[in-house]
């Protein structure tokens, strides 16, 4: 969601900040702004996207500055509500990611004391609070203001007469990048990759004082040391190269991200956790929820362990009796709902494991142990390679419980993934791009695969799509079938084949055009359906992957045919960091 970036050092701050914000674009935003310390505080903010030549158009001065991309929560997206926000005197500027829950009350108090508010945002209370405490020492002014705030925040603050940035975080992500006589701060490491590979992950409650050649971190008023860690990502991974979209690039990186993730060794603590537990609960949101559901089907049928899957956002509304291992699945590791659910599980003394793509993210700090996906940075808003990497991590857990029964299957899965990427889905794309509604149906583990296929279709092509368990179709949705609603059915050999095939015939009888995913060489199925998309005939674990990827290709090419902004779908943010 919102992204923040700060720079202090020897370069002109404006281009570094604009470039950094562009790297954070993928988090989703509707307005942006930067502020620098020149001869005074200079602010530039604007509604809309950052254009190519933006840094040339921004005429701000100084080597110290902060920037922000805003995904509106409090107050509509406009130039006034965009960050940075300044105090009454214009001497202090602040950017903020998170939500201040008690801002209404604080705002009334501050207004009572004579402060004038310009925007409708919750953030503006922070800068007025700092103003009240400011007497030339920004660090102590920020530190004094923080205890008054309730909610989540990552804050960067600058003031007029000092070359310094004060950073603070609580329950919102913030990392520092340490360069050569320059220091960076950002919501995640993607903007830093170009300048440094040394990062510091701040802890909740940390306040950092940054100058160009020095940084100090305080926690509860005491100076603390935080380890400097090396990032193993490289900046090439965040470039689109010759691909039309990041999403396409990431779709084609899936053989590698799957392979790297299954090859990564699992430490003994995680191994112990997985082997000892009598049941597993997964909490996840969005695409991660679908991977968790797939895991449920696989783990329950293949390793005979009870698995429950809960949406992070609903978890807190019931008080489930929790026993055994709780796994939180989140690409960004910052999904607020998932983290809240994980904290509940911890409070009940359950062992907790995080599966995430972001080393050092919040979820890794909350959970007892972490299983890191090796997907590399994912920039496209629609999850693709992180989805397969999540499945890789979860399948590794299945394999562990089955004592390595699927070693061979998993080590060759990347070949089947590579195979399905060669698949031509144009015919199906023609059908879907003309449709108003598309249904995705499957049975067993392919039911969540259908849900994921529908989600991809919805989020990037804006074609209304729903995923159903094939058996549920007749309990209502069948009424919606017409000759204009294509159905995408997944029908592969196994216990579900016969009944899926008869479901398909029922749909055909209602004149619905059927696109079927089946294994290569299944001529019988190819004959009864309108369009047949073959996937390699392999083990169930791999079929789940290849079917999902065929559906990604279908959604991607449909979105392209409809000329959608694939990498930045409307209204969506990459990681949902507010509840």
């Amino acid at each position: 969601m919102c992204g923040i970036v700060g720079y202090i050092g020897r370069r002109d701050a404006t281009p570094v900040l604009i470039q950094g914000l562009k790297r954070l674009e993928y988090r989703g935003y509707d307005s942006f702004g930067i502020a620098t310390v020149g001869s005074a505080i200079e602010v530039y903010k604007k509604t809309g996207r950052i254009s190519e030549g933006e840094s040339g158009a921004v005429d701000l001065h100084g080597c110290t500055g902060i920037g922000h991309t805003r995904w509106a929560t409090h107050g509509e997206p406009n130039d006034i509500n965009a960050h940075p926000h300044t105090d009454c005197t214009g001497r202090i500027a602040v950017v903020h990611n998170g939500v201040i829950e008690n801002y209404g009350e604080l705002k009334r108090q501050l207004q009572g004391r004579g402060h004038t508010f310009q925007s409708e945002t919750d953030t503006e209370v922070i800068v007025h609070l700092i103003e009240e405490h400011y007497d030339g020492d920004l660090l102590s002014a920020v530190s004094a203001s923080l205890p008054l705030l309730k909610g989540s925040y990552a804050i960067l603050a600058i003031a007029e007469d000092t070359q310094q940035i004060v950073a603070a975080r609580d329950a919102s992500p913030l990392v520092l990048g340490v360069g050569d006589a320059e220091v960076f701060a950002a919501s995640d490491m993607t903007p830093l990759l170009e300048y440094t590979e040394r990062v510091i992950y701040l802890e909740d409650g940390d306040v950092a004082d940054l100058t160009h050649d020095h940084f100090a971190i305080y926690h509860g008023g005491l100076k603390v040391e935080r380890p400097v860690e090396l990032i193993n990502w490289c900046v090439e991974d965040t470039r689109r190269g010759g691909f039309a979209h990041y999403m396409l690039k990431e779709i084609y990186e899936q053989p590698q991200s799957f392979y790297e993730t299954t090859r990564a060794s699992i430490n003994d603590h995680v191994r112990g956790m997985v082997m000892e537990t009598g049941e597993i609960t997964l909490v996840a949101c969005g695409t991660s929820y679908h991977t968790a559901l797939i895991f449920k089907y696989l783990a329950e049928s293949l390793c005979n362990i009870p698995v429950r899957v809960e949406m992070g956002s609903e978890f807190k509304y019931f008080t489930p009796p929790l026993h055994g291992l709780v796994i939180a699945v989140s690409q960004s590791g910052e999904t607020a709902d998932t983290i809240a659910a994980l904290k509940m599980a911890k409070a009940r003394n359950c062992p907790t494991l995080a599966i995430t793509n972001m080393q050092g993210s919040t979820v890794t700090r909350v959970a007892d142990e972490t299983l890191l996906m090796r997907a590399g940075p994912e920039i496209g808003v629609a999850a693709t390679k992180s989805y397969t990497a999540q499945l890789a991590a979860l399948m590794q857990i299945v394999n562990l419980r089955c004592e390595g029964a699927f070693d061979d299957t998993l080590s060759h899965a990347h070949l089947a993934i590579g195979d399905v990427l060669l698949q031509d889905v144009r015919e199906a794309v023609t059908l879907c791009s003309k449709a108003e509604h598309v249904f995705f149906v499957g049975r067993g583990a392919f039911y969540p695969v259908s849900m994921e296929g529908a989600l991809k279709m919805k989020e990037i092509s804006y074609v209304h799509a729903e995923g159903y368990a094939a058996g549920e179709l007749k309990h209502g949705p069948f009424a919606l079938l017409t000759a204009e609603t294509p159905v995408v059915a997944i029908c592969t050999p196994g216990p579900t084949y016969g009944v899926m095939a008869s479901n398909i015939k029922e749909m055909k009888a209602r004149k619905a055009p059927v696109i079927a995913l089946g294994v290569a060489g299944d001529t019988e199925l190819a004959e009864i359906v309108d369009i047949f998309i073959p996937i390699p005939n392999t083990h169930l674990l791999v079929q789940v992957l290849t079917a999902s990827i065929a559906l990604q290709l279908l959604a991607y090419h449909t979105a392209c045919a409809l000329q959608r902004d694939v990498d930045k779908p409307r209204n969506l943010a990459k990681s949902v960091t507010v509840e």
């Binding site: 190269g241 010759g242 396409l248 195979d419 060489g521």
Partner: protein
């Protein structure tokens, strides 16, 4: 000086190996052919490189993104010819430039010879000129290019490497570059023919073996991974990281082995062998003069000689490739060439299979210990 590398074509005569990647991406000595071309350009200080991609472009783009050089990519939507491919790059061209095929080996010295020229082409002598554009030269100037003639008047062929000025685009009337050259010659332009120093193409799958043994001369010795102390190595041997070489294995270079392979114990790898990543050679297997791509598994007691194996082949124990020569029709021409086997991606063979001068398509399955000969179509199941 700029350079345009043409890497859009499939290389249909190299099927079944070009199923998942274009010819320019086929690995030779464990590096895609296009890397050798890019290296030769960089050695000449030419850094402004445009690559035209088309067939299986994602594979090429992903690879180019990983290189250090800042490479511009343009897409040729339909692969209808070299001139059309060049036109795709027109918007990127501002200066005199070189055109190079991305799927032929060319060395830096050859490029040094042509880089100063305004309109010129690199030519080479070839024993089978009728697979190429045959060039008729008079006084060091190109008189005529005859494309793939039945009867070639000379042994001098075009290497497909040209040096042009930006106004060449006005001569690109048809879909092929040689037609544009003919038009330039007709309008009185002088096109110099410059002999290449070192150049090699692979037209047919078995040509890859020659190219492979040639490229293996340039590998650097390196031992990553875990190599047992009892392993005997001679010559230049490159072993990637994460690879395990078991006891009593003998490796005679030049041999290159990729990452995360599992070799031996008791294997013999003779000269001129390239082995990709994640390859498994089970005990007591012998490999010589072969190009084995990634994810291949070869069972124990196998004898692999003069073979090209595509990605992900799984061959059970006692597999033999037996070099011999018989008549095979490839790309409309009947060929007779000695080699053991060319296997596409994902070929599976049961124990005791013998491949004898065999080209097996992608995903062919051989059941039962058979001797298979000649051409087998993609997806065939040999019972």
């Amino acid at each position: 000086m700029q350079a345009v590398i043409l890497a859009a074509g499939e290389g249909g005569r190299l099927r079944p190996l070009t199923r998942s990647k274009p010819k320019a991406m086929l690995p030779v000595a464990n590096r895609p052919i296009i890397d050798y071309v890019i290296d030769a350009l960089l050695e000449n200080g030419i850094r402004d490189i445009v690559v035209v991609v088309g067939y299986r472009k994602e594979e090429v783009i992903r690879h180019l993104n990983r290189l250090d050089a800042p490479i511009q990519v343009v897409v040729q939507e339909r692969q209808i010819g070299t001139a059309d491919a060049l036109r795709a790059a027109e918007s990127e061209i501002t200066d005199n430039f070189l055109v190079l095929p991305g799927d032929n080996y060319i060395n830096a010295e050859s490029i040094a010879r042509i880089r100063g020229e305004r309109n010129a082409m690199l030519v080479a002598e070839h024993p089978n000129p009728s697979n190429f554009g045959v060039v008729v030269i008079r006084n060091g100037l190109v008189r005529e290019i005859i494309e793939k003639p039945e009867e070639a008047p000379t042994f001098t062929v075009s290497t497909g490497v040209y040096s042009f000025t930006p106004d060449v685009f006005s001569y690109l009337q048809t879909t092929e570059i040689p037609d544009a050259l003919a038009a330039m010659i007709a309008s009185g332009r002088r096109i110099r023919a410059i002999p290449a120093d070192d150049w090699q193409d692979a037209i047919y799958p078995w040509d890859l073996l020659k190219l492979n043994s040639r490229m293996l001369k340039w590998i650097t010795p390196e031992i990553g991974g875990t190599v047992d102390a009892s392993v005997i190595r001679r010559g230049t041997v490159h072993i990637g990281t994460g690879t395990t070489v078991g006891p009593n294995t003998v490796i005679y270079g030049p041999v290159t082995i990729g990452n995360n392979c599992n070799i031996g114990p008791n294997c013999v790898i003779m000269p001129d062998v390239s082995i990709g990543d994640r390859v498994v050679l089970e005990p007591f297997t012998y490999v010589a003069d072969s190009l084995i791509m990634s994810d291949v598994t070869i069972g124990s007691h196998s004898r692999i000689v003069s073979a090209v194996f595509g990605q992900g082949c799984i061959l059970a124990d006692h597999t033999t490739t037996y070099p011999s020569a018989s008549f095979i029709e490839v790309g409309g021409r009947v060929q007779k060439e000695e080699f053991g086997a060319v296997l596409g991606d994902g070929v599976r063979a049961a124990p005791f299979t013998t491949f004898k001068n065999c080209i097996a398509g992608n995903s062919v399955t051989i059941e039962g210990g058979k001797t298979v000969v000649g051409l087998i179509e993609d997806g065939t199941r040999v019972m």
